[in-house]
């Protein structure tokens, strides 16, 4: 187990380094001087020189790369051109909101997925099954940013129940800690629901297939024959086993969660990594773009490493030597 873990971690680190290199290469080797994408004719020579320094553009490409990579490894991504402060600070402020949004949305999506899978699996071919499949397909196919706008239109602008965006009310600084937490939750409802609703059907379909397989097993028949109540059979005997592969799905969901969060954050003005990234792209703030891209890539790599680790932990057969990672391991929904 330990040598495997060491090798896996080494691979992950290597992958992150390559990722950082690719990001650097894309920004620097794209046609045209990055400086020219930032300045116009009216920018004076002194300002141009300043921006060149800020961007780390002096010296040869190799020197620039070395300097940048050394910074990245020390958590130093340079200065934001637009905000005139360290990129690391900007990113640090954005990580919390993104974690809050993705974690709560993941929990809600799991709840919805389990409920939907149980309903569909226990009533195959009945109206509830068809209906859920239809609703799920629709939610799955709807653009996330548009769904968010529709929620804002209905629940915020029309009904006035929930705030349209941001993470806190203007008067939040004057609230007590409890009221402030409630205020954040109030702002969280719509973005969380948008993210979870767009996602749950992929997982539900996966779970449903797993449940259908398990419910056809002999041990389920045996449990029923012993007179165990159906509800208990479903939850204790079937659902538990169906949920096991979801451990892996959690790690593998990272790219999807971050991508979805980006869309939702932009629509709701949620101050997370996605919003920071988009604002940096609008402003051509390259140090920030490079930082958020490398960090999300790193999060994805670590997520899949964690998935592998959890999978080995959950499935003892894989701990045997020479078996290697399971072939054809399904990634399930998105």
């Amino acid at each position: 187990m330990l040598p495997w873990l060491a090798r896996r971690l080494f691979q992950s680190l290597l992958l992150i380094l390559v990722l950082a290199t690719v990001v650097f290469a894309v920004v620097r080797l794209a046609p045209g001087d990055p400086l020219n994408r930032m300045v116009d004719d009216e920018t004076g020579a002194a300002d141009q020189a300043l921006i060149r320094t800020r961007l780390g553009l002096e010296g040869s490409l190799v020197q620039q790369y070395g300097r940048w990579l050394r910074g990245v490894l020390q958590g130093d991504f340079g200065l934001s051109l637009r905000q005139q402060r360290p990129v690391a600070d900007i990113v640090a402020e954005a990580v919390g909101p993104t974690l809050l949004l993705t974690a709560s949305a993941y929990a809600l999506h799991l709840l919805l997925a389990v409920t939907a899978a149980l309903i569909m699996s226990t009533r195959p071919g009945r109206p509830a099954d068809h209906w859920l499949q239809g609703v799920g397909l629709a939610l799955y196919s709807v653009p996330g940013f548009w769904l968010g706008l529709m929620f804002i239109m209905l629940f915020s602008r029309y009904l006035g129940w929930l705030p349209a965006g941001g993470m806190a009310s203007p008067d939040a600084p004057f609230m007590g800690p409890g009221a402030r937490a409630l205020d954040v939750l109030h702002h969280l409802v719509l973005p969380m629901a948008t993210l979870a609703l767009g996602a749950f059907m992929g997982t539900a379909r996966y779970l449903r297939a797993a449940l259908d397989d398990i419910l056809a097993q002999d041990y389920i028949l045996a449990a029923r024959a012993r007179g165990i109540p159906e509800r208990r059979v479903l939850v204790h005997h079937a659902l538990r086993n169906a949920l096991l592969p979801l451990i892996t799905l959690l790690g593998l969901s990272v790219p999807f969660l971050l991508g979805g969060a980006l869309v939702v954050e932009v629509v709701f003005g949620w101050p997370g990594m996605g919003r920071v990234t988009i604002e940096a792209i609008w402003a051509r703030d390259y140090p920030v773009i490079m930082a958020t891209t490398v960090l999300t890539g790193a999060a994805v790599v670590l997520g899949s490493t964690l998935a592998d680790l959890l999978y080995r932990w959950a499935d003892p057969r894989l701990r045997l030597p020479d078996l290697g990672p399971a072939e054809g391991r399904s990634t399930g929904g998105r």
Binding site: L15, L19, Y140, W146, R157, Y206, T293
Partner: protein
């Protein structure tokens, strides 16, 4: 490979039937836009016709510049379908070449190509797309290239897996025994066996490409005015959700219906074509 003839199309397959209707309507709107659309999608209305609610004159209302929403909706289908199909075809081409090369080539090539695939897969796609878009100026061609470049990885994996299994068949050994070159074997005997996988995978990916394009256009990073795109239309309605709800609502419905059509079509084709009938979503 036992592929049921499409002629035996199961009449109870409502999903596939719905899919065919929806995708045909979308295609017709795109191809016949100038004929079908009520007037010019870019014609600015008179002062009184700005932000007009849906009525018998403007069925879906007008936007803040007085342009007819229905006309723009019909013309917007062109960008969505063009980007959806071209980018997916590009991704399919890359993915098939990489997947077949990995499956048929020497072990070392296989490892290198799969490492490359894993590397590209470690970016959340939208971040990779945004990074590439941020270093150039937005255009229709760029969007198609970028979506193609970022969409081939899962295809390469699918094609590789299918190639590895086809490679074991007796008829491949026979073809080799007859003295066909590896390229001839790949082209004449492996590729035909891959078609069902490729067609299903392509159809299932069109919806995702359309959604990504609409998001980029919504952000102002995609297709630029005066080309009409559904994402751009939604952007226009973003600030007027109460006074002009129709501006943002209808393009979103058009997007959803189109994507539902392609997802249903992909699922339906998979039921008919895919020998393995794999369950679960294949979307990325």
């Amino acid at each position: 490979m036992a592929v049921e003839p499409v002629g035996s199309l199961n009449r109870t397959d409502g999903g596939l039937r719905t899919a065919l209707v929806l995708t045909t309507v979308g295609l017709a709107a795109a191809l016949l836009a100038p004929v079908l659309a009520p007037g010019d999608p870019s014609a600015l209305g008179e002062a009184g016709a700005r932000l007009a609610a849906p009525s018998s004159v403007h069925w879906l209302g007008t936007d803040p510049l007085g342009r007819d929403v229905l006309a723009r909706l019909i013309h917007g289908a062109r960008v969505s379908l063009l980007v959806g199909w071209v980018s997916v075809l590009a991704a399919m081409l890359c993915g098939t070449v990489v997947g077949m090369a990995a499956g048929l080539g020497p072990r070392r090539l296989d490892r290198a190509l799969m490492a490359l695939t894993d590397l590209f897969m470690s970016f959340p796609r939208i971040f990779l797309v945004l990074l590439l878009v941020s270093v150039s100026s937005p255009s229709l061609l760029l969007i198609m290239v970028v979506l193609g470049l970022t969409g081939w990885m899962s295809v390469a994996r699918l094609v590789r897996a299918e190639t590895l299994s086809l490679k074991q068949r007796d008829y491949i050994a026979a073809a080799r025994g007859l003295g066909l070159t590896p390229l001839q074997v790949a082209w004449r005997h492996i590729l035909p066996g891959l078609w069902p996988t490729i067609i299903v995978a392509a159809t299932l990916r069109v919806g995702g490409a359309i959604l990504t394009e609409s998001f980029l256009s919504y952000l102002g990073l995609g297709v630029q005015e005066p080309t009409v795109s559904w994402g751009g239309m939604i952007q226009m309605g973003r600030g007027i959700l109460l006074d002009g709800w129709w501006v943002a609502t209808f393009p979103g419905i058009a997007l959803a219906v189109t994507v539902i059509g392609y997802n249903l079509l992909g699922d339906g084709l998979r039921r008919r074509l895919d020998p393995r009938r794999q369950g679960g979503g294949q979307h990325d």
